[in-house]
Every structure is written in structure tokens, then in C-alpha cells.
Amino acid sequence: MDFVKPTIEYAELAPLLIVLGGACLGVVVEAFVPRERRRLVQVALAAVVLVAAFATTIWVATDLAEVADGAARGLLAAEGTIVVDGPTVFLWGLVLLLSLGGVALFAERRLEGGVSAFAGQAAALPGTEAEREVSTRGWEHTEVYPLLLFAVGGMMLFPASNDLLTMFVALEVLSLPLYLLCGLARRRRLLSQEAALKYFLLGAFSSGFFLYGVALVYGFAGSMQLAAIAEAVRNDTENQGLLLVGMGMLAVGLLFKVGAAPFQGWTPDVYQGAPTAVTAFMSAATKVAAFGAILRLFYVAFGSDRWSWQPMMWAVAILTMVVGAVVAVSQTDVKRMLAYSSVAHTGFLLTGVLGVQGAGELAEGQVTSLQAVLFYLTTYGVATLGAFAVVTLVRDSNGEATHFDRWAGLGRRSPWLAAAFGLYLLSMAGIPLTAGFVGKWAVFTVAMSAGAWPVVLTAIASSIIAIFFYVRYIRIMFFAEPEAGPDGLPGEVASVTTPSLLTSATIAVGVLATVVIGVVPGPVLDLAARAGDFIR
């Protein structure tokens, strides 16, 4: 058998290669740069890599060739395993921007009195002499930056993969660094390690489902390529059972990653246990990447069989929205509340996903489900990243104060920060003139157009429930008095630690984006519309 040298479209894949290359370089830096200088080098490297990747993404985006009579733009790269098309570059850009915010939060050192939020040495057992020694020496793990870059690389590959194996590899590349990052909290280390283990075990389990699904679908279609699968789905009416079970297994793997019910169990624990900077990055960027993959898999590979998977999506979306909204009401910890709210948002996004319609069924200029989901991901990612960034700042003597009581009256002590958090919550609640409203409108509309009115009604009902806990939180911040402690004295309340420019800038940019996209959503919507369709 002759060996044929594969052709790699280096130019179009440049953003991906830059990020993965930067990650490898970060590992080298870890080995060769002295400990005291590592942080600066790593932060600078990560930032430069992300900015460079973003710049090349824009360059790639402007240069994509039109295919299929202008319905889509892009090309198949790397022997047909990776596809660089409009949605791909949109998601790349989004992931890179959110990761840039993540790096800024990772690099914040002013909050913990001169050290980062990550453990000095993850290997040191909590409470031992070794840990104290590390702590007094002020060490910190600078490996988090290469880990972040690897995760970003996986997130970029995930929605761009054009066959099931690449998709699986991408899933693992994005997941493994996240498992590690979750366990690296400097404070409450046991909680953090527990979260990491839980995430890892369940994540590995769901990967198993995904892999089994890959095998079954291969058995049905005889190919890993999404296009070939789509072809088989269209033509082959044999072995429908194999296809349906395989589709279900793949869905389990992907729905686990986005935290859809009934696979949402890990979300609150992991979001709460992980260092908040990691939670911010993970909750925003992972969801973007995983929804990109869901869209590609279900629209491209199973698009012509959508009558088979839409009922499942209906059920999952309804369940996810209801579970997320209802359980969030009973939370008393802000990170857990945001976790359940992110579950509810997964449901809203799925509402957009199941609103897919054939090209012939849409009116001229009508919003497509792809456009709606891409837009929603943008608004959700920005608001979530910003909200968790605010959480990192609100602290008491034990570090971050995540209990509701501690936030009482924050609006009076730090009006600007409380207002920023309030704005993020309003955006998540979907109040008009914030970005979240337009996103919600878009996904509900596409679902309604596709005739999924029961889902839309459920979505509206869950939005009403969701508004309750968002508004209650705003009330706690602005109108509640701190409750008295058991000794009758006013209880301890959290105050806002002044952050460095890194965190403040992340929050400020998020606020600005939330307002601007809310008032003038046109440009972002057009961008999502211009992304066009997937290449099949």
C-alpha cells in the first residue's frame, strides 16, 4: 500500500495550529524558564497566542470561498477531517474571545494577596506540611496556561470536526485539561478535588457512550465521515435500529458536555468546586464548543433524519429548562445558582437547535436556527463569563463569599459592581435592551416557526420561573439588609476586593458587550447570518 502524503491546508487551519502550537510551547516554557519568571512568560504567551489566533481567524473568515451557490462558505481541510466553514470560524472567534477573558481571570493575582487562585502545588496533600511550605514560598502552578490553551485547541477542533473520530479526539482534548483545572483551587481544595474527580468520572463515562455511538453509527453507515453518514441516512432504510441507538449514544455524550438534563448532575458540583476563574472559562467556552458540535452532528450528519431526533430534543429541551429553572430557585449559593441557570440556558439553546427547518420552508430573510443558536451562544458566553468574574471579586475572610447572605446590601457598598452583576443577571433573564433578550427571542422564534410550540410555551414558563431567582438576587444585592448573626451582631458580609486591570477589564468589556448587543444586535446577527450554512 502506497503512502500518500496528506495535504494539510495550513493557511486555513492556522488559528487551530497556532493555539495548539502555543500550548506545546507553554509546556517547554514550563521546563526551561525559572520559576519566578514563568508566570509572566506564560501569561504573555497565552495572550499573544490567543490574539494571534483570533487575528488569523478573522483573516481566514474574510477569505473563505463560497460553495454551494453561496449558501455556505468554506472548505474541507486535512483530508476531509476538519471543515473550515462559516459557523466554524464564527465559533472559533467566539471561543478565542471568551478564552482571552479566561486568561485574564486566570492571571489575576491581587485578589488572593499576590498569588493566583490556583493551588501552589496540586500534588501536595491538603493540610500537610508540604502544602504549607509551598504556600509560604508563594509558588503557583503556571501549567494552567498551557492547559487552558490545550482546552481551547480542543474546543476549536470540536465544532470543526468533519468525522466522528476527530470529534471524539477533540472532545477528549478539550475535556482532559478541564478535569485537571477543576481540581487546582487554592482554597477549599478538597471540594475542588472532589469536583475534578466527579467531572472526570462522569465525563469519562459519557465519552464511553459517545464512542459506543460512534461504533454503532459506523456500523450503520460504513463511514466516519459526516457527509457519508448523511448520505447513508438519506438512502439506507435498513438497520434503522442501529442508527437510532447510535444517534442516541452520540447525543448522550454531547448533551453531557453541555449539561442538559438528565445529564446535568455534575454541573452544580463542578461549577461550585472549581476555581471560579476556571468555572467562568469552562461554562462559557465549553458550551460554545459543544453546541457547535451538536449543531454540526445533528444538522449535517443526521439532518435528513431530523424527524427521528427532534422528538428526543423536544423532550430533553423541555426537561432541561424545567429542571434548571426549578432547582435554581432553591439554591442559596451563587455559584450553584449560576450553574443551574446555565442548565436552563442549555435548554433554551436546545430550543433553538430543534427549530431547524429546511431551506425551502423559510421566508426570505427569516432567522435560521443556526443563526439564532450562534447569536444566543454569544450573548450567553459573555454574560456567564462576566457574572463569574464578578463572583471572584466578592470576598470575605474565607475567600470568595458565595453564599447569598453575604451578598446582602452589596448594592450599597459597591454600587458599580452590583450593577454590573445585576446587568448580567438581567441579560440571562432576557430583559429587553440586554443581549440576552434578543438571543432568547431568536431561539424561541425559530422553534415557533418549526412548529415546536409546546417547547416554546415551556420555555416561556421556565423563563418566568428563572426571572424569579434572578430578580430575587438583585433584591438581595440592592434592597436587603445583612442578616444578624447568632450573636445578634450584624453578620459578616462580603466586600469587593479591588481587582487588577485584568479582571476589571473582563467585566467592563462584558457589560459593554451585553448592552451594545442588546441595543444594536444587528451587526452580530448579520455576522451569524453571514456565517451561512454548514458545509456538508
Binding site: 430583559i431 431568536a442 422564534t445 436587603a480
Partner: protein, 565 residues
């Protein structure tokens, strides 16, 4: 038509003013600037009214693309209905701000500052104006929901203990209704897209040919949202709690301006976009309106809290307005539109005078009041005028509108009219009984002299903290003002210094409302001139003709609805 985008200016002036006021360093300066801005807005509103051409349909229109992907436009326009609502808003806001000049300090909680009260009030004015001017359904929806944010902070930040919970309740009801409306707004997009190119312009949507079931479903969403907003039974429960806890100034903005969006929306959207379905829903809506009229009045009679009482009278009044809208005759609809204006003036006066009474007595509990008449004759007189306007005494403007609505109700069906008329009787009971308990009887001095122990029971500041632990330090109006009668009785029992009467500037603030009530009571023609052309257009659009106005046949039951088929 001039080149100046007058309507945008009208919205922008208070909006910019709100931002400026929020950024000003000193509270005194902020108050002054806020008042000037609201007067300037009044000026712009009058300028718009002067350019308005009677019977000219939608005027001064501005249309720009906003979100092209959704077919959404930034489109403003003014017609007879919106003009009246705009004028009501721009007149009431300066009055509220002037009234709140001193009260915002007293009624504020630790979380609110005087400055933010004025800033939020201006923001609310700007958004309300935008609601009344929007001619794009999406734009309407956006500003409709956005008004809730200033309203939430006005309720939650200013008023008495328990206002935080009241604010959440208010917001939950409103946003809940709003999300139901969102369902219908989305539905409109879908049917509009199916009909060709998606567009949210009111004019485009009114021409859509909807299937019967689609029209009814869409109407249901709009109607539920407006029933929450207006409010009508059974979605009214937020109203009493909100008016009880909020300051009277806030209540005026909410009940007299913001709630009008509900009845405005019924006319503008339910009737104009879904005429057939609206006629189909008439029996249900009329029933709800009648229940609201009677039930609201009965509840009002039973209230002990003065502000709760005033709030619940509005439930009854909104029942009248809705009734007038949904009986589908030109008298009914002219009456309803006039009612919206007159109710705004009358209830504003009632809220503000009630606020003065409460400030002087240090309690809002009617059973602890009495005998104010002799000590504060001017206040008592104005309070009486406001009360009489509320019960629609002939000679005051609400009489005209209520009469029209009741005539139209009788015309619709005799028993509808019969039930509506009981509202008048009940209104007489709650107003006169309220006046009697608050103003007549032995005076507060006598009550104070009866014993020092009674003084403590009278003082809500000492009673409420026990019940509301979290808000205790912010006792609000009560804490700040309760001391006044107390010191009056203990320190100056020989000189008999009771609650002082209204000062000239306080009278001056209320004077425009009284003047408006009396003038429009004797000469309502200006309102008719504006409202009637709108009603004529609406009636022809809906496809309903009035019955022949022959008096003898009036007794035979002849529906307005029959003319349509």
C-alpha cells in the same frame, strides 16, 4: 412636517435627563435639574400637540431599520390615542417630581438616594413615552418590558417596610405577563414571515390575513399581558401590595401612567391587530371587567390602609375603562379613552393628597386617623375634591367618561350596564366613608390627649420593626414623620399645634390637577376632538357600526356586535 424628529426628542429629553441626574453630585442640584428636565419634556410634549393635526391619523412618524434580521424598526408615530397618553404623562411627571421634592428624602430607604428617585422617575417617563409612541410591535415590546426596571427600583428603593417583597411581586407579575406577550410577539413574527417578508411594523401587521385560530391565540397572549398590566381581576393582586408599600409619588407614576399601557395596548394591539378575535373574546373580557368593577370597589371598602384603598379603587376604574373598550361602540371607546385621561388626573390627586395626609398623621391606617378637617381645611378640601372625582361627581371630568361608558354598557346589554352602575354606588361608599373616617370626627389632638400609651400604639415605627426584621432600619415615611404629631401634642398642648395645613407651594403643585379636573369636567370638548377621530378610524377598522342613536329603541337589546356580520 418638519425635519426635527419631535417624537425622538420627546423620548430622548427625559432619558438623557435621567442619566445626567444620576451623575450629578448633589441631591439638591439633582432635584432641580430633574424638575427642569420634566418641565422641558412637558414643553416638547406641548410642541408635539401643537403640530398635531386633528383627525390626521398617524403623524410625525419616524421609521428607521433597527434589527433588519428580525424585520424590526425604530418607528414612532402619534395619533389621537397616543397624543392623549403622552400629554397625560408629561403633565403628571413634573407634578410627581415637585411633590417628591421633600418626600423623596423622607420616604427613602437606606438603599435609595433622593437623586436616584428622580433619575429613575425620569427614566420611567422616557420609556413610558416610548411605549405610547412606538408603532413597531417589537419596539413596543422592548420598551414595555424596559419600563419595569425603573419601576422595580422605584418600588424597591423607596417606601415603607416590606417594599422589597412588593417590588419582587410587582416584577414577577409584570414580567410573567410580559413573557406571555413575548410568545405572541414571536407568533406575530412567524405569521408575518409566512405571509412574505417578516416585518414588525404595526401598519404591516394590521394588514395581515390571519387564520381564526392563529388570531385567537395571538390575542390571548396580548390580552393576558394587558390584563396583568391594567390590571383586571384575577391578575390584579400585585396592585394593592405595590401601592401600599411604594411612595405615593411612585404610585402615581405606576397607576396613572404605567398601568395605562394596559388599556392603551388593548386598543392599539388587541383591537387594531386582531379585530375579529377581540370580538370573539368580548364576553370573557366584559365579564372580567365587571368583576373588577364590583370586586375592586368591595375590596376598597374593606381596606384600612389608605394607599391600599386608593390602589384598589383603580382596579374598579380599570374595569370601567376595559368595559368601555370592549363593548364596541363609539361612545364606549371615546368614554374609555377619556376615562384613561381623567382617571390619571383624579387618581393622581387622590394619591398625592393621601400622601400628604399620611405624612401628617404618621400612619397610613385609616382607623387611626380622624378629625383632620378642622386642622387642615385646605388639605381636607383637596382630598374631598379628589375623592369626589373618584366617585365621578358631575362637574368633575371623570363624570363625563364614566357616563359614556355606562351608556355604552347599557347599549351592549342591559345587565352589563346594571352591574356597572353598582360600581358608582360602591364608589360613593368607599370614597365618602374614607373621607369620613380620615377627616371628620374627633381630632388627632383629642386622640393624643386621651393618653400617652395610645401614642405608642399610633406610632408605626415602633410596631413595624418587629414584623419586618430585615427592613427595620429603613422605617421609611413612617419613621421620619411619625414624630411630628407626637411632639405637637406633648410639647405644645396649650398652643394646640396639630398637623399643619398644606403650604402654598404644596397647594401649587396640586393645583394643575384640580384645574384639569374641573375644566375638563365642564368642557371636555378638547378631549373629544382628539379622541373621536381615532375612535372613528378604529370602529371602521374593526368593522363595527354604532346602533342608530334613536332613543326609544335603546331599550330593545341590540348589540353593537351584530352590525359586523
Amino acid at each position: 412636517m418638519s425635519d426635527v424628529p419631535w417624537l425622538t426628542v420627546l423620548v430622548a429629553v427625559p432619558l438623557v435627563g435621567a442619566v445626567v441626574v444620576a451623575a450629578l453630585p448633589r441631591a439638591e442640584l439633582a432635584k432641580l435639574v430633574a424638575l427642569l428636565v420634566s418641565v422641558l419634556t412637558l414643553g416638547v410634549g406641548v410642541a408635539v400637540a401643537l403640530q398635531y393635526e386633528l383627525g390626521g391619523g398617524m403623524q410625525l412618524t419616524e421609521t428607521h431599520d433597527w434589527i433588519a434580521a428580525f424585520g424590526v424598526h425604530y418607528a414612532l408615530g402619534v395619533d389621537g390615542l397616543s397624543l392623549l397618553m403622552v400629554l397625560l404623562t408629561v403633565v403628571l411627571v413634573p407634578i410627581v417630581l415637585a411633590y417628591s421634592w421633600t418626600h423623596a428624602d423622607e420616604g427613602r430607604g437606606a438603599s435609595g438616594s433622593t437623586r436616584s428617585f428622580f433619575a429613575w422617575a425620569l427614566a420611567l417617563e422616557a420609556l413610558s413615552l416610548a411605549v405610547f409612541l412606538a408603532t413597531d410591535v417589537f419596539l413596543f415590546y422592548v420598551v414595555f418590558e424596559a419600563t419595569l426596571i425603573p419601576a422595580y427600583f422605584l418600588i424597591g428603593g423607596f417606601g415603607k417596610a416590606g417594599r422589597g417583597a412588593a417590588a419582587v411581586k410587582f416584577l414577577m407579575f409584570q414580567l410573567g405577563g410580559g413573557l406571555v406577550l413575548l410568545g405572541s410577539v414571536i407568533g406575530l413574527y412567524v405569521v408575518s414571515a409566512q405571509a412574505g417578508e417578516p416585518s414588525y411594523l404595526h401598519a404591516d401587521l394590521a394588514e395581515l390575513d390571519l387564520s381564526t385560530s392563529a388570531e385567537r391565540w395571538l390575542l390571548a397572549g396580548f390580552l393576558i399581558a394587558f390584563i396583568v398590566k391594567a390590571p383586571l381581576f384575577p391578575l390584579h393582586t400585585w396592585l394593592a401590595d405595590t401601592t401600599e408599600k411604594a411612595t405615593p409619588g411612585t404610585s402615581v407614576l405606576l397607576v396613572c401612567v404605567l398601568d395605562k399601557i394596559g388599556t392603551y395596548g388593548m386598543l392599539r394591539f388587541c383591537l387594531e391587530l386582531f379585530p375579529e378575535a377581540s370580538r370573539w373574546a368580548t364576553p370573557l373580557v366584559v365579564t372580567l371587567a365587571l368583576i373588577s368593577i364590583v370586586y375592586g370597589a368591595l375590596l376598597a371598602i374593606g381596606q384600612d390602609d389608605l394607599l391600599r384603598l386608593v390602589g384598589l379603587t383603580s382596579l374598579s376604574h380599570f374595569g370601567f375603562i376595559t368595559l368601555g373598550i370592549f363593548v364596541f361602540s363609539s361612545q364606549g371607546q371615546s368614554g374609555a379613552i377619556l376615562y384613561m385621561v381623567n382617571h390619571g388626573l383624579g387618581t393622581a390627586l387622590l394619591f398625592l393628597t393621601a400622601g400628604h395626609v399620611i405624612e401628617r398623621r404618621g400612619t397610613s391606617s385609616i382607623s387611626r386617623m380622624g378629625g383632620m378637617e378642622k386642622l387642615t381645611p385646605v388639605l381636607a378640601g383637596l382630598f374631598l375634591v379628589a375623592g369626589l372625582a373618584t366617585l365621578s361627581l358631575p362637574g368633575l371630568s371623570p363624570f363625563v367618561s364614566e357616563l359614556l361608558v355606562i351608556i355604552a354598557a347599557f347599549d351592549y346589554h342591559w345587565w352589563v350596564g346594571a352591574v356597572a352602575v353598582t360600581g358608582i354606588v360602591l364608589a360613593a361608599i368607599y370614597v365618602l366613608w374614607m373621607y369620613q373616617r380620615v377627616m371628620t370626627g374627633p381630632g388627632p389632638l383629642a386622640a393624643g390627649a386621651a393618653g400617652g400609651a395610645g401614642e405608642h400604639a399610633d406610632d408605626p415605627a415602633r410596631r413595624e420593626p418587629a414584623g419586618h426584621g430585615t427592613d427595620a432600619p429603613t422605617g421609611g415615611t413612617a419613621t421620619a414623620t411619625a414624630t411630628r404629631p407626637t411632639t405637637g401634642t406633648t410639647a405644645g398642648s396649650s398652643t394646640a399645634v396639630g398637623p399643619r395645613d398644606l403650604r402654598p407651594h404644596e397647594v401649587a403643585v396640586l393645583a394643575p390637577l384640580v384645574a384639569g379636573l374641573v375644566f375638563l369636567g365642564f368642557y371636555p370638548m378638547p378631549l373629544f376632538d382628539v379622541a373621536n377621530p381615532y375612535v372613528e378610524d378604529l370602529m371602521s377598522h374593526v368593522g363595527v357600526e354604532d346602533d342608530a342613536p334613536a332613543v326609544p329603541e335603546g331599550t330593545t337589546v341590540e348589540h353593537a356586535g351584530e352590525g359586523a356580520h
